[in-house]
């Protein structure tokens, strides 16, 4: 079973502060994704990556940055956190070839106060 590990699992941050969410996968997958999950909106793609050194904007990238320093690691950075970024964030990884599935981490619950 593919392994995707997110840290931290829970985070409370203050408005205006910097938050970094980390994701590690040991599946040697090329593609990695960051989603946020909100009731009524489903899973929305924030950033994704094709491999080390690459990051691509998803559908809702504003207010977020991403970093892929290695094949295994993909971080999501909130430089100036706002209460509207309170959500559950999921990282996922996959080989990227058409019909293959992606594997999700357990999620990070972020609360910005």
């Amino acid at each position: 079973e593919a392994a995707v590990t997110q840290s931290p699992r829970n985070k409370v941050a203050v408005t205006g502060g910097k938050v970094t969410l980390s994701c590690n996968q040991t599946n040697n997958h090329n593609n990695m994704y960051w989603y946020r999950q909100d009731t009524g909106h489903g899973l929305r793609l924030i950033h994704y990556s094709y491999g080390a050194g690459s990051t691509e904007k998803g559908d809702i990238p504003d207010g977020y940055k991403a970093s892929r320093p290695s094949q295994e690691n993909f971080s999501l950075i909130l430089e100036l956190a706002t209460p509207s970024q309170t959500s559950v964030y999921f990282c996922a990884s996959g080989t990227g070839t058409g019909n293959t599935e992606v594997f999700f981490g357990k999620g990070t619950r972020l609360t910005v106060v």
Binding site: N31, L45, Y50, N99, G105
Partner: protein
């Protein structure tokens, strides 16, 4: 851009009745890949079904779906709902650019 539209909100069913969750998509890509993911309470989404072949039925764990490119649809069905089917279901679309787009999700609640 790509988009996925699902049956909205909450679907409630009595155990034993058939399940039908709708999914339609929009993309300019001619060979899309379609997926259904299921997320049980306090868990992560996981793959339920996938397809990229037009008009071919795909089945897994009692669920089935058929990709119809003519109508841009990939509806999820099951002949008889079980209590354990209660979950959040997502339809998802991948195009050749590897971007994976999900719909808003449909909560299925099966009652005795």
């Amino acid at each position: 851009g790509d988009s996925v539209t699902q049956t909205e909100g909450l679907v409630t069913l009595t155990e034993g009745l058939p399940v039908m969750l709708n999914c339609t998509y929009q993309t300019i890509y001619s060979n899309p890949f379609l997926f259904w993911y299921v997320q049980h309470l306090n868990e992560s989404p996981r793959l339920l079904l996938k397809s990229f072949t037009d008009n071919k039925r795909t089945e897994h764990q009692g669920f089935h779906a058929t990709l119809h490119k003519s109508s841009s649809s990939f509806h999820l069905q099951k002949s008889s709902a079980q209590l354990s089917d209660s979950a959040l279901y997502y339809c998802a679309l991948r195009t050749g650019y590897n971007k994976l787009t999900f719909g808003k999700g449909t909560v299925l609640l099966v009652s005795p």
